[in-house]
Subunit: 463 residues, 3 copies
């Protein structure tokens, strides 16, 4: 077997027994996925997924980053090719380097999918590469592996995508207009129209004007256009926005200054500092609109995007060379919090890639401000040790109820059940430790386990 029923539970037998009991009460709860990067088109069209390489290797940063770090070229993996010329060859390269993933969450996620979805039982390796390729390929052609069937099989209750304000949301509409009773929701991610460093920023703002019928050449018209766009998302079930800024900086400029900054920014005359100030101002504007329309804000700061210049020049965005950096929250969020921090109807969910901020800044902030909640461990920290560190550093100051359950945040649709399973197991492992050390009663832990797996996410994201 590739995965063990007791995986991730503490080794100490008494604690493991408690962890098992807790896990039993959450394992079959529906999955709620309020933040991720799956594509609505999969569910709108419901066409079979491609071969194993196209499905599992090519879109997964975690996988091709690791292979690249060990000298495999992106050409070898056919990254950047719309269609794979030689998917079996790509798969074999991946399979013959599978030992690189020892000790990583990728290994846990993949083994789960290999065993639970595809019924495979031997470890992936150079030797079993073809066996895997053929077995997976065969399954992918069956009706049970169509996107909608998988959605049901995964026991998903809600699945949110992440979308540009310029997106037509046609796929989301198509899903809603079909007879299929699934809850697939868009998320409003305005980076392309609020971040002056985004590709084609000014052009995007013009398009936003066209789409919304507002004059986006003025500050007021621009803000109105964003309001209109948010409404369009809300009408399709959207409950949240998402903001992927380099830093957590916020600003709260007087209107005239903000308008002047906007003019400079869309004219392409803003320097780096002004661009940063504009993003900062826009977080506060987004908070203001959230107070008005109830959308939950998510802030995902602290990633240096496209760190590898040569890969970026050749392959463009999102080729796996995003690197975290130290991120300040305590001063950065102040202008926004001065304005809206005490709003009890506002929810802002903070994420970080800088774990040193967990206990130093994030737990104290979320343990005080009514609008703040802490998102789960993100990206590089979406892993057993990362999850344990999160709970250990956050709970004592912010408790459980200023956190918001799990986000899988993935493009890899097939990894969703595995990711939620890891999160549920690690939360149970943490709770079992508290129970074994008499810091919490088992009865309470059972309640908390269910809160963390299911209830908190629905409440926080207003689902």
């Amino acid at each position: 077997m590739l995965i063990h029923p007791d995986r991730l539970f503490p080794a100490e037998p008494g604690t493991r027994k408690i962890a098992r009991t807790l896990y039993e009460c959450v394992r079959e709860l529906p999955l709620v996925s309020p933040h991720g990067h799956t594509q609505a088109s999969w569910f709108a069209r419901n066409e079979p997924f491609h071969d194993p390489a196209k499905l599992l290797v090519q879109p997964d940063h975690y996988i091709f980053r690791m292979l690249y770090s060990q000298g495999i070229t992106l050409e070898d993996l056919e990254i950047g090719q719309p269609e794979l010329k030689n998917p079996r060859k790509v798969w074999r390269i991946f399979a013959s380097h599978y030992e690189l993933f020892r000790g990583t969450p990728t290994r846990l996620w993949l083994d789960f999918a290999f065993q639970e979805l595809f019924g495979l039982e031997q470890r992936l390796s150079e030797k079993t590469a073809d066996l895997y390729f053929d077995a997976i390929s065969e399954k992918l052609r069956t009706p049970e592996f169509l996107p909608r069937a998988l959605y049901q099989r995964f026991n998903l209750e809600v699945l949110a995508t992440t979308d540009s304000p310029l997106d037509s949301l046609a796929e989301h509409k198509a899903i809603r207009e079909s007879n299929w009773k699934a809850r697939i929701l868009p998320t409003f991610r305005p980076d392309p129209v609020v971040d002056p460093e985004f590709d084609d920023f000014s052009e995007n703002i013009s398009k936003l004007g066209e789409k919304t019928g507002e004059d986006t050449s003025t500050w007021k018209g621009y803000l109105n256009a964003l309001r209109v766009a948010r409404l369009r998302f809300r009408e399709l079930g959207c409950t949240a926005t998402d903001h992927g800024h380099p830093t957590a900086s916020t600003a709260n400029l007087p209107t005239a200054e903000a308008a002047e900054l906007f003019r400079r920014v869309i004219a392409g005359k803003a320097d780096a500092k002004q661009q940063e100030l504009f993003r900062a101002q826009m977080l506060t504007e987004m908070a203001r609109m959230s107070v008005e329309d109830g959308l939950v804000m998510q802030i995902h700061p602290g990633s240096v995007r496209n760190h590898n210049r040569k890969l970026y020049e050749r392959y463009g965005r999102d080729v796996g060379a995003d690197i975290p950096m130290a991120t300040n929250y305590v001063e950065a969020l102040r202008p926004l919090l001065d304005q809206f921090g005490n709003e009890r109807e506002l929810t802002i969910i903070l994420f970080t890639l800088d774990e040193s901020a967990y206990s130093r800044e994030l737990a104290p902030l979320a343990g005080h401000y009514p609008c703040l909640r802490l998102g789960p461990p993100w990206w590089f920290h979406d892993s057993p040790e990362g999850m344990m560190r999160f709970r250990e550093r956050v709970t004592e100051t912010a408790g459980f109820y200023n956190t918001v359950g799990f986000n899988d945040d993935t493009r890899a649709f097939l990894s969703i059940p595995a990711r939620h399973d890891v999160a549920r197991r690690m939360d149970c492992a943490y709770l079992a430790k508290l129970v074994a050390e008499h810091r919490l009663e088992e009865e309470e832990a059972l309640e908390v386990a269910q809160d963390l797996a299911y209830r908190l996410v629905k409440k926080a994201y207003r689902l």
Copy 2:
């Protein structure tokens, strides 16, 4: 039962057994509390404590921060009211949200007091709120719950308060002049007269002049006034000073420059940078005076005070919106250490809210400079996980003997035994792990456990 005899001990049976043995040899040692925020007036007057809400909820930042973070208003909790109008209502709000404290040290401290002091055995909840309120209220009216009786019952050997140089210390004098044989000592906390951003700073300096008979309009007179004030504290048993600066910055200006900076500062003409420089200079001046008079220095940097602007404007200081920030020690302390770092008769105890500094800066500094010692995990880190992280990150570089035992640092008098109990248990848990992993002999661990619980604090604070 609310608390278990094995609480906080490692679950692994062999290690737990060692932890129990170690704990048995420290559990009954007297409590030494060299840093805290209890009030001398309680012991001077020895009047009954108020109702449970006034005693336990209202003054405890840990409690009302958490409630506030979840949407309870400060009005609901009657924060800022000198007398509670409806203490039972406040208590009920707290009781019905008690699950928010799951996994936090507040829960451990309160359950200890509920069971050990008040004999309560059912968990606090909405249902048991009135039962608790009545039972606690009744006990508080008995002689066994008068402040002096509790001091004895808690087995306190020393209890230090924290006091302004402008304080008359009349309560301390009254305690000494009474027949009561307790050791309650003031601590010299000069922030009101050395931090230019403190409310009424210049006025405070004038008052300091009046109190000491020195001309505090001059740099020399000001320093003399501080010397006189320190002497006044020492005469009442004070052995330590405390400094709550935003950063750990120190400076060592030539006298003429320092005098010029002082003139600017008391004239209210200093900008933020000059104010910071003045505080920095004053840490070095305080070290100089400590070399002269033997008072131990405590430095508590790294808190952004009053982060929530609206609450500060409405309720003033200390309403629970202090947030830690990243804190540098290695460059910040250099001017002071260049001057006094090699003084073997000087003791400076460093605290931090930035755990990333434990292994990177603080343990290496304390593991080298003869004057430096590390204070215990502070404030948000005064918790089981916080204490374990402290020992794990500090011991390997600084050892045990550059640390100074425990500080409860609390305003919540009734939580003192619980806090020391948590610290003793966690130190025993850490030591038990070292013994179980054959990194220390059990015999040695028994000695270290007693050092950490009792001997080191007395030595470091010169008690």
Copy 3:
């Protein structure tokens, strides 16, 4: 007995059993020591080591830092004296303070050497000080304790020293020319000729010119001289360079600018910022040369050297007052990585003293760039907890195969087996946890344990 056969293994019996099994398969593998500070002269001359104090106390920063921090003076320890006047007295001081090392790796290393090398079985203390002194002194006079005999006994396969480009390497030549079949290699550490803040920097560069026959008064000649010097090292088996800069800053200036900066720097006219820029440029130049000649680069940034001004003025460099500081990698390395980051034939091994960078910056960088690898936990973190934190924070993002095994990095020759033993045990402890929690198969862990103990270091350092 001073050391236990199960030391450092997890206490939980099932996990301990796995750790033992893993350890059994690595305990007898040869030691590969690719980075350290032993002296080639010991092996060239093969003369007996001095007395215990001269051998074990005086050169070991870890020991005299700790003693100094507790009030022992450097005079008491005769630090800075070429010959000890009273070695027994120094030894007694050390012995009578041995409890200071409880919980530190120094204690583990020393007890290992005391028991395994010298057959001592009672704990070192004031009482046993003379027994130890005499027993060790006696052994040191026997042929079994000559440097070459110890090298064999330690099962060393490779031992690298660290050397200045100005070093004649005569001792290395002498070893090679002797009949002794050991592999003792120099490492090219150019700090004295690339760091403008180094003592006698300009003079060093002149000497470099003389030694290499290049005109080091020009940028081009200077670079050529470094090439020639590297070749000289390579001819004596050197496979790596090492760079101990204050920060990880790199730069990639146009040639004319670099040449102008060089002129300014050797003229002694560069300010602190320009000196830093020069070091930054030189890291990129060193990378360029490594692409040409295949030498592996090691970067050891983040230490504030000689923090204690008075000790530095009195005793010079390396008296134990180096203190880590926060270190940025993600922006600092960018200029170098923009140029060479995708070179698959280049290997750059990164070290840090700032553990907050492990999961935030270092693992993501090494988990992407083909040229980057992570060095083992360094200096203050070369300890059981430090090693565990390293694996826990690094593995999930960078895997095992972007790390490079162990470095003992020591001047204390006798501690080498103990240090490798601690590293092997901690890696086995970490792997045992993964196996016990069903995150890795035992069979795989056996392979990884051998990779971490032996194979990866040989591969990474091209040995």
